[in-house]
């Protein structure tokens, strides 16, 4: 079976990426929805999926010292490149926040006073929601390797798509341009960047386009709330045409989108006949027609 993966990202946060992903997921037809904004997963609030599976995700390890063995030789301090080991009142101390989990201190300690403990508080959930299947990751606060968790969430989404014969996979990605974003877009059929008509929005869009072109991905741009600054909105449109980026369309600011969220619905579910719902479904058809 053919599968169609669409990733929705934004560069700048708060442009309306998740609201638009939610709308795409409820236009009709069954979908697999993968919430890859693992730092701030939100779509489960709207869709309240059943929990069918829960998996523990190990994000990495942290070093701990056994003071009954430590001789204060400071060799670990010398070797650590993350400034995570220091002397605190004459005793070797490991700063949990700075520790990168590289294990070098554990390997070189001459008296085996250092051991590694696993960070095992992050989870991946999957289940059913009203328009199909849903997978989402929840990174425990302060844990890293969000890119890897994104990969696992996407892998699961692909598996579900195959097992349940669902063609469309919709990926709600994280903001930024770092590892989690890269993991959310590689190998997808379409990347949709949701931006807003602000100077920050435009600059962040440019950095995000650099990333999508690095990976040779078919990229689309949506300007959300374009009427908040039509002048910058026009600038973004001309930037897209200069760079030959597919322009998918623009949406007006509409307080109904927030009202829908408060009612735990996508805008499509809340008011399918509204101008904004019609425009979103046009945009979805445009993206999927090529």
């Amino acid at each position: 079976m053919k599968k169609m993966e669409t990733s929705i990202i934004s560069g700048k946060g708060g442009t309306g990426k998740s609201s638009i992903s939610a709308a795409f997921a409820t236009l009709g037809g069954r979908v697999v929805l993968a919430d890859c904004d693992v730092d701030a997963a939100n779509l489960h609030i709207l869709f309240n999926p059943s929990h069918e599976e829960e998996e523990i995700y190990i994000t990495g390890q942290k070093a701990v010292i056994d003071y009954s063995l430590c001789t204060n030789c400071r060799l670990c301090m010398e070797y650590c490149r993350f400034d995570a080991i220091s002397l605190d009142k004459g005793k070797i101390a490991i700063n949990e926040i700075s520790c990168d989990g590289c294990k070098l201190c554990y390997r070189i300690c001459p008296v085996n006073a250092i051991s590694m403990i696993e960070n095992n508080k992050s989870r991946m959930y999957s289940g059913t929601f009203r328009n199909g299947k849903m997978v989402y990751g929840r990174l425990a606060p302060g844990e890293e390797n969000s890119g890897k968790l994104v990969n696992i969430v996407r892998e699961k989404a692909r598996q579900i798509s195959k097992d349940h014969n669902i063609e469309n996979i919709i990926i709600d990605g994280p903001p930024g341009i770092g590892c989690a974003v890269i993991s959310s877009i590689t190998g997808t059929n379409n990347v949709v960047i949701v931006t807003e008509p602000t100077t920050s929005g435009l600059l962040d869009l440019m950095r995000t386009v650099e990333i999508t072109s690095m990976f040779n991905l078919k990229t689309w741009v949506i300007i959300n709330k374009f009427d908040l600054n039509p002048e910058i909105s026009d600038k973004i449109e001309s930037y897209c045409s200069e760079r030959e980026i597919n322009f998918a369309g623009k949406l007006r600011f509409d307080a109904q989108v927030v009202e829908a969220m408060v009612k735990c619905k996508s805008i499509i579910e809340y008011d399918p006949a509204s101008g904004i719902s019609i425009q979103i479904s046009k945009i979805w058809n445009t993206i999927n027609s090529k």
Binding site: N42, I45, K103, R107, L139, T198, T199, E210
Partner: protein, 294 residues
Amino acid sequence: MIESGKIRIAIASGKGGTGKTLISTNLFYALQQLNYKVTLIDCDAEEPNVMIFFREEEEFVHDVTQKVPVIDTTKCTFCGKCLEYCSYNAIFMLRDMKIIRILEDLCHGCGACSVACKYDSVSEKDISLGKVTRYHSDLQSSIIEAKLRVGVFSPVSVIKAAIKEAGNNEIILMDSPPGTSCPFIQTVAVADYVILVTEPTPFGLSDLKQSVDTLKTMNKSYGVIINRAGLGDKTVYEYLSNENIPLLAEIPFDKEIASLYSKGEIVAKHNIVWMDLFETMFNTIYEKNGNINN
């Protein structure tokens, strides 16, 4: 950590786009006008936007680099010890075909492979992760920007370098990256107080809760600013009052604010009420958090 007359405040939000940068740039401007010596660090290295709001001159730039290994294949015996030591799967080797490659994107520069190699075949080179730029604002104040190179996976080293650059001798404001993972933690770890910016929506509330849970485990003091008040619902307010979290300020949803912000303008320059708002807020925070344990 705090010395008398000094404070570090991080401006953060779980959810992106809640108005973090709006708050940090306006607070910076207000304090500057009040003749404080203040440094603003843009720690959102993936998408730094603070400098959109200022026209200051660049004072200097320095590169942030990381070490990555280089393998001398004439000395390498393909024993696989470096692979075993690497915690990041950054070394790829096919023993039979005598192929060994470094995947630089995955390397964290920990140096474990150099220690592992008994044949002296691992040396190191520097690769660029991004830049830290200092902008001179006036005699008293400056802005420091952390900027990740596009394509680099983690912004943490660039953020740390920017914080180091600011030193420790004035009022420091930090525009934090969104989320609650490592870039956020690295920024708030050095803060004496955290201002969390949220919006009164279910998404805003959910992300706020996650930020609060993180700050609790870190034993940080914090308060909340609600931006775009008037949109959404009341659940954020209920949460704040149930949890006894101080509401520092409310900023109404207002098309004029949105429009000024969209053009890269400082709202406090145009609106005297904002000057008062930020001065009062800073004084409240400073009284409670600016003079504890020297």
